[in-house]
Amino acid sequence: MTDLKPLYTAILEGDAPTAKAVTQKAIDEGIDPQVLLNEYMIPAMDEVGRLFEANEYFVPELLIAARAMKGALEIIKPILVGTGAKPVGRVVIGTVRGDLHDIGKNLVAAMLEGGGFEVIDLGVDVSPERFVQTVQEKNAQIVAVSALLTTTMPGMKTTIEALKEAGIRDKVKVMIGGAPVTQRYADEIGADGFSDNASGAVRVARELVAA
């Protein structure tokens, strides 16, 4: 039987070709994809997140790990779907109206994908109406809203109000982030989650879908 430890190591080191090769070989040998996901892939990404938070890894290392994870996930996804397994969660993400900054948002999106979430990325300058419409269309469990400017932060509150007006606030969790955003601000506007970094955002998203 294929040694699966190299799958863990390949994701940790961002080695996408090896991650995909080991995954494919394991699937060919009939190994349960849930075992690959839960015992090797997600723990590897958790370790990547730990190394990042310990200042040993930089974002580029985190990103290539997420890409390796995504490559391996794409191999097992059709099988998981066939067995009725669902993604960890579905997230609609975007930067608020009037704000064009997307580096942090893109990073969170990549990490969420690496963490097994399905991510619908609406890009920058996203109106509250578009967030609402996409949540309804895609039946998302989480809306992740980003802002870099203090002048555009009010767009987060407006988005939450739009979700309320549409009558879907209790069906979707809202998490927010961005340089000027704080836990206090999140509490103030009634957001459900906040993180000041990308790997923390994955943890928050997991907690929100589990709640």
Binding site: N55, G98, D102, I103, L107, G123, N197
Partner: protein, 470 residues
């Protein structure tokens, strides 16, 4: 009242930097001083404070417009009054529009007029010499991929360029974003080749187009086409490095690699001062001789940085980047910020009045930061002069960008070897990686473009907006 414009810096083809002697590379003095506004002279012997301020969180719309006007009135009143109280002789005020004020240029023009009126009153009443720098923000990347040379957002920017003089602005600057749609991904991945493509291929093509338009508008209105900044590139890198998201050595190399992009503005007719958040300014000053505005520890209200002192070493205007109009214990933040700038400028100008004083203070400013961070190290005046020589010796923006990368990596490795620079172990492996990648950059631009176009085939940019053939 109108400022005198003059021709830009000719730097077509290989050249020798305007400043080559360390003794002549000091704050307050530039080979090509600029006269602007109500009798302000920049780079003519004194460092001048440049204050910038912005709104607290507020939706910018018609409903809030009376409050927005009140906020700007409060800020400019506080700043000019404090300048008069402290005996400031020359003051530069920057008004950087917020996106809706460029999309609706009449809004940007209205605030410009409001600020200009207060500055004129302070001049007439108290003799405060001043100039107003208008910085329309580059809104073209509101859509991805951005249209760089036409369309709704471009039209708003151009309208504001042309309205600037009528509204009372004395200088125009911009934080242009050509190539940013590529560099954002390059920064996140610490991908040197993508950054060189963004900074050395795309950005210069956009700068040439954009600055030709800005210079034409400034000549029409007889105001000063001042300068640009690599804020969207190198300052993004600096902030990411500060948050330990990318290596500081990468951010340092990106900073120097942004210099050739900046030079295009001055080749196209800009005359300075460079924009305050262009931390690459010392290179611009060394190569072109135009005066520069800089910011450092004084910008901590806007963003943190590892270059708080060294950035001041050869400045001609000393700025705060931006500060929100919030109440502090003493008074409102813009007034506080101005006071800090004024005292820094006093110290520099007194130092410069003593023989060798400017050089001594400059060296202390550099020495206090440079050994601690790669980004500070590449701003050390002697490093700047050596790398500037390598950049100016090349004849095209791409080749200059390549030279900037190679020379800055060499300087960082030399600093590390000599013990003049200290970086953590996980940064050293990145410096080695950068050195390998730098050596693989081809000398020939066409070859580099041919290599990169397929790699970036799905990237969010439109090659035709940069005159690149698909």
């Amino acid at each position: 009242m109108a400022a005198c414009a003059s021709d830009g810096v000719e730097l077509q083809g290989a050249a020798v930097p305007a400043i080559t002697s360390l003794d002549e590379f000091v704050f307050g003095v530039a080979p090509r001083p600029v006269r602007c506004g109500r009798g302000v002279e920049i780079g003519a012997g004194k460092v001048i404070p440049e204050i910038n301020f912005t709104l607290p969180p507020i939706d910018i719309n018609r409903d809030n417009w009376p409050e927005i006007r009140r906020q700007y009135t409060e800020m400019i009143t506080g700043v000019t009054q404090r300048a008069v109280d402290l005996g400031v002789e020359d003051l530069l005020v920057e008004f950087e529009t917020l996106p809706p004020m460029t999309v609706h240029p009449e809004w940007g023009a209205e605030i410009t007029s409001l600020l200009a009126e207060h500055l004129q009153n302070a001049f007439e009443k108290h003799g405060l010499r001043s100039a107003l720098r208008l910085t329309p923000n580059d809104t073209r990347d509101h859509v991805r991929p951005p249209r760089m040379r036409g369309g709704y957002y471009w039209d708003g920017m151009v309208e504001l360029f042309h309205a600037a003089a009528r509204a009372g602005a004395d200088l125009i600057a911009i934080e242009s974003t050509g190539g940013k749609e590529i560099s954002d991904e390059g920064l996140m991945s610490a991908d040197l080749r993508t950054m060189v493509f963004a900074l050395g291929v795309l950005a210069p093509r956009d700068m040439r187009f954009l600055w030709t338009e800005i210079v034409a508008a400034c000549r029409e209105g007889q105001i000063v086409p001042s300068g640009d900044t690599a804020c969207g590139f190198a300052n993004t890198a600096m902030v990411l490095a500060d948050k330990r998201m990318i290596p500081t050595v990468f951010a340092a190399v990106v900073r120097v690699a942004s210099v050739p992009r900046g030079l295009v503005a001055y080749e196209s007719g800009a005359i300075g001062p460079s924009k305050d958040c262009a931390y690459e300014g010392p290179y611009i000053k060394a190569i072109t001789g135009v005066p520069i505005s800089m910011e450092g520890r004084t910008a901590a209200g806007a963003h943190l940085s590892p270059v708080g002192n060294v950035s001041q070493a050869v400045c001609d205007c000393w700025s705060n980047e931006s500060i929100q109009n919030v109440r502090l214990l003493s008074t409102n933040a813009p007034t506080v910020s101005l006071e800090q700038l004024v005292y820094d400028c006093r110290l520099m100008n007194v130092a410069a009045s003593h023989p060798g004083g400017a050089q001594t203070l400059r060296d202390w400013l550099a020495e206090s930061d440079a050994p601690r961070d790669a980004q500070a190290f590449v701003l050390r005046p002697d490093v700047v002069l050596r790398v500037s020589g390598a950049i100016a010796a090349e004849s095209t923006p791409y080749r200059r960008t390549r030279a900037a990368v190679l020379a800055s990596v060499d300087e960082l490795r030399r600093g590390l070897t000599s013990g003049e620079l200290s970086i953590p172990a996980n940064e050293k492996r990145w410096l080695d990686r950068l050195a390998r990648e730098a050596e693989n950059l081809p000398e020939d631009e066409d070859r580099f473009i041919a290599e990169m176009m397929p790699v970036l085939a799905n990237a969010p940019y439109l090659p035709e907006e940069y005159c690149l053939e698909i």
